[in-house]
Subunit: 423 residues, 2 copies
C-alpha cells in the first residue's frame, strides 16, 4: 500500500520513524509493506527528526491527491480550513483513502468529508484525532458496534490534566502550573485552545458523533475552561473525596443530547480520578458492554503516530467502516439539552458577616436547590473567607440563575466558582 | 450476513437478545442485517432467556458447519475438546467464518485453527474469549498493530478480583469471600479453574500470542492461585501502599518470554490497583503508543455478547485480519524465561524466639537477596507471630531456593506466602 504524507511536524516524523523502525513486523502482519512514497511540508530545508531518504519530496501538497502511485493520503497539517481541508476534499474526490489527525477539520467539516468518502467508496481514518494513541474511535466504531451508547466521558486534554495534577500535588497557583507546563513543552505559548476547553470540545463533539451516530455539533457544546480553578478548590475537593478534572461529557437521553466541557469533581474511587499528569482517559457506556474505560497517552509524536499507522493497517486489512460508524444519511440530529440534573460544587468568597449564609441559602431555596453540605474555613473580621457548599441533584438552569443572584449580593467579593460533581 | 449459533447458555442467549434489541442500529451501521438463521444446543426443552421465534433449531450442532445458508458459525459451547473443537474444524474447513468465546479451545488448538482459517480464507473472531466485553484483542491486533509490544499485564479473572476485593474491604477469610462469590453467582460450585489461576493462564497465553506474534504456549505459563492469600497479607500490603491482585503477566525481552500468573502486590497509585470487584483490566505496553490501560466487565452474558457481535460486525465490514495478528507461518517461538528480576513480598509465620530473624536473614544473604523492609507484628511467648519482609530486586530462582530453605527452619510454623511486587 502506497502512502503520501502531508505535514512533517512531530507527528509526521513520528509516523515515518514508526514505519521504518517496525517495517518488518508490519509487513508480516499485513502480508504487504506500507510504503511512504511522497511527502510534502512547508519548509524543505528544516532539520527533521526523521530520515526522508528514498521518499519523493513534493512542493505542493495538493498534488498528492492526484498521484496515481498513491493509495492513501495522510494529512497532518492541522487547522479546520486552508490546505488541510482542500487536501482532504481533493483526496477523497480522487478516490484516495484518507487518514487524518485533524480534530478541528473533522469537528467542523466531518459530515461533508464523510459524505465524500462514501460517494467515492474510500475509507477515512481518524483515530489520531482524539486521545492520541488510545484506540477510542476504534472502540466506539467497532469494539462497541453492537451497543447503544449513552455516555462518553473523558479527560481529553493532557495539558489541562497536567496543570490540575500539579496544582493539587504541589499546591501551585494556576498560572504557575501553566508556566511549568509550558516549560516542559506540554502547553503551547498561546495556551488558550487547551486551557479554555476548546480542544476538549472538538474532541468531545467527534466522540459524541461516533457514540450516538449523530452529526458532530460543536456549536451546542457548553464549554468552560480551567482558568477559574484555585488551589483552594483542589483542597476542598479532596476534603469531599474528589479530584478536579477537566471533563468532556456527552450524554444521550430521551430528552436529547447533552455535551459539556468543564472542570468537574470526580469521586476519588472512580478510575477517571486516578489518571494524573498528561494522561488521557475515556469512559464509554454501552447497553450491553456496560462501562469501558480506556487510558493512555493522549498526545505526543509516538502515540499519535501509533494511531495513524493503526488506521493505515486497518485499511490494508480491508476494513470498510463508515466514518461515523453509520452512513451519513443515517446520522441523526438530536435536540441539544443544556444539562441533565446533577450535583454541584459552589465556592464563594464572602465577607465574614452575620447573615451571609442565610442570604445565600434563601436564594438557593427560592430556586429549589437543596444544600447537601456547607463548609466555612477560617474567620476574619476584615478579610473575606471562602464558603464552599455542595448541592443535591439540581437543574443546571436553576443553579445558574441562583449563582447569578448570589453574585449580586454585596457580601460576595469574588466571581463564584461553580463545578459539577460527577457520580 | 447469516449466522449459526451453537450453545445457548447465558452468553448465547445474550447474543440473541443483543441482535434482536439493537437490530435496527446494527443494520444501519452495516448496511445489512445480522440474521441468526439456526441454533443448536443440548436441550431443546430448557427454558431460556431469549426468544427463538423464527430461528431453525438443529439437533446436531455439527450440521451447522455444512449449511449452505450460513456465512458465520458462532461457537459458545466451551471446552478445549469434543463438539467445540470438532465444530471449529468442520466450520473452517467448510469455508465458514468462525467466532468463538472459547479460551480453552484457543489456548490448546489456536494455531491449528488459525492455520485452517488461513487455508480456507476465512475470518476467526476471538474477542469474547478474553476479558468479556473489553476490546483487548482488537486493541492488540489492530489498535496497536504498528507497535512492538513488550508487556501484557492484567486482572483477567473477575471471580478472583471479587474475592480479593471483599477480603480486603470486609476483612474476610478466603473461604468466606469465596462462599459469598458463589452465592452471588460470581464463582462456580467447583471454583478451581478460577481461584487456582488456570482460567487466567488460558487468557494470558492467548494475549501473549497476540501481543508478541508467538504461538500460544500454555505449558510454559507459571501458575499460582489465590488460596494462600490471607486477610493479614491484604493488611500488610496496604501498609506497603499496595493492593493484592491476581495478575497475568507476560513480558518479552531479549532473553525470552516470561508468562506468569500469581497473586501480586500492585502499587496503589497504579491504575490496575483501583480495579475492584468483578472488573477486569489490562495494561498493554507498545514501543510507540506507550502504556494503554483498558478496563471493564470481564464476564457476564451482556458484555460477552457485545464482544461476539463486534466480531460479527468486523467480518461484515470486510476486516481480514489473521487470527493472531500475523500468518501462522510467521508465529514465533520464544524461549521461555522463568521470571525476570523483581521485588518480592514474603510473609512467614514464626515462633517468637530470639535469633529467628537472624536465621532468615542469613539464608536470604546466602542467596544474594537483600531485604528492603522487615515488619514484625505482635509479640507472643507461646504463639507464633507473622514476619513480613520485602526484598530489593531479586532473581526468582534464588528467591524460591531461599524460601525452600527458610521453610525448613524449625521456627517456621506455616507455609510461607511469597508474592511478586509489580512496579
Amino acid at each position: 500500500m502506497n502512502i503520501a504524507l502531508a505535514g512533517l511536524g512531530t507527528v509526521g516524523c513520528g509516523v515515518i520513524r514508526l514505519l521504518q523502525q517496525n517495517a518488518a513486523a508490519i509487513t508480516a502482519r499485513l502480508g504487504q509493506p506500507l510504503v511512504i512514497k511522497a511527502v510534502s511540508a512547508r519548509d524543505k530545508t528544516k532539520t527533521r527528526l526523521c530520515d526522508l531518504t528514498g521518499i519523493t519530496w513534493v512542493e505542493d501538497a495538493m498534488t498528492l491527491a492526484h498521484r496515481p502511485d498513491i493509495d492513501v493520503v495522510v494529512e497532518l497539517i492541522g487547522g479546520a480550513e486552508g490546505t488541510a481541508r482542500q487536501l482532504a476534499e481533493a483526496s477523497l474526490k480522487a478516490g484516495k483513502h484518507f487518514v487524518t489527525a485533524n480534530k478541528a477539520l473533522l469537528a467542523a467539516h466531518g459530515v461533508a468529508l464523510a459524505r465524500l468518502a462514501e460517494e467515492h467508496h474510500v475509507f477515512m481514518g481518524l483515530e489520531a484525532a482524539v486521545a492520541g494513541g488510545i484506540p477510542v474511535i476504534k472502540t466506539l466504531r467497532e469494539g462497541m458496534a453492537g451497543n447503544s451508547v449513552t455516555v462518553v466521558r473523558g479527560i481529553l486534554n493532557g495539558t489541562c490534566n497536567y496543570i490540575l495534577s500539579r496544582m493539587r500535588d504541589a499546591k501551585l497557583e494556576f498560572h504557575v502550573a501553566l508556566q511549568e507546563a509550558q516549560q516542559k513543552g506540554y502547553a503551547e505559548t498561546d495556551p488558550a485552545a487547551d486551557i479554555d476547553g476548546h480542544d476538549t470540545a472538538n474532541k468531545l463533539a467527534l466522540l459524541a458523533a461516533l457514540a450516538f451516530g449523530s452529526e458532530p455539533d460543536l456549536k451546542t457544546v457548553y464549554v468552560e475552561g480551567i482558568r477559574g480553578v484555585t488551589p483552594l478548590d483542589l483542597t476542598f475537593a479532596e476534603d469531599l473525596g474528589c479530584r478536579i478534572k477537566l471533563l468532556g461529557n456527552a450524554r444521550l437521553t430521551a430528552e436529547g443530547l447533552e455535551q459539556r466541557v468543564g472542570p468537574s469533581l470526580v469521586m476519588e474511587t472512580s478510575p477517571l480520578a486516578q489518571m494524573d499528569g498528561v494522561l488521557n482517559a475515556v469512559l464509554l457506556r454501552g447497553d450491553f458492554v456496560g462501562d469501558l474505560m480506556l487510558a493512555g497517552q493522549g498526545a505526543g509524536a509516538e502515540p499519535t503516530a501509533s494511531a495513524v499507522v493503526a488506521d493505515l493497517m486497518d485499511r490494508a486489512r480491508g476494513l470498510s467502516v463508515k466514518t461515523f460508524g453509520v452512513p451519513v444519511a443515517h446520522l441523526k440530529k438530536f435536540p441539544a439539552v443544556e444539562a441533565h440534573e446533577a450535583r454541584y460544587y459552589l465556592r464563594l468568597q464572602v465577607m465574614d458577616k452575620p447573615g451571609v449564609v442565610a442570604d445565600i441559602s434563601a436564594i438557593l431555596r427560592d430556586d429549589a436547590i437543596s444544600i447537601e453540605s456547607l463548609l466555612q474555613r477560617g474567620k476574619s473580621a476584615t478579610q473575606s473567607v471562602p464558603v464552599v457548599m455542595t448541592t443535591h441533584a439540581a437543574e443546571w438552569g436553576a443553579m445558574r440563575r441562583a449563582v447569578e443572584k448570589i453574585q449580586q449580593l454585596p457580601t460576595i467579593v469574588e466571581k463564584p466558582c461553580l463545578m459539577r460533581i460527577e457520580d
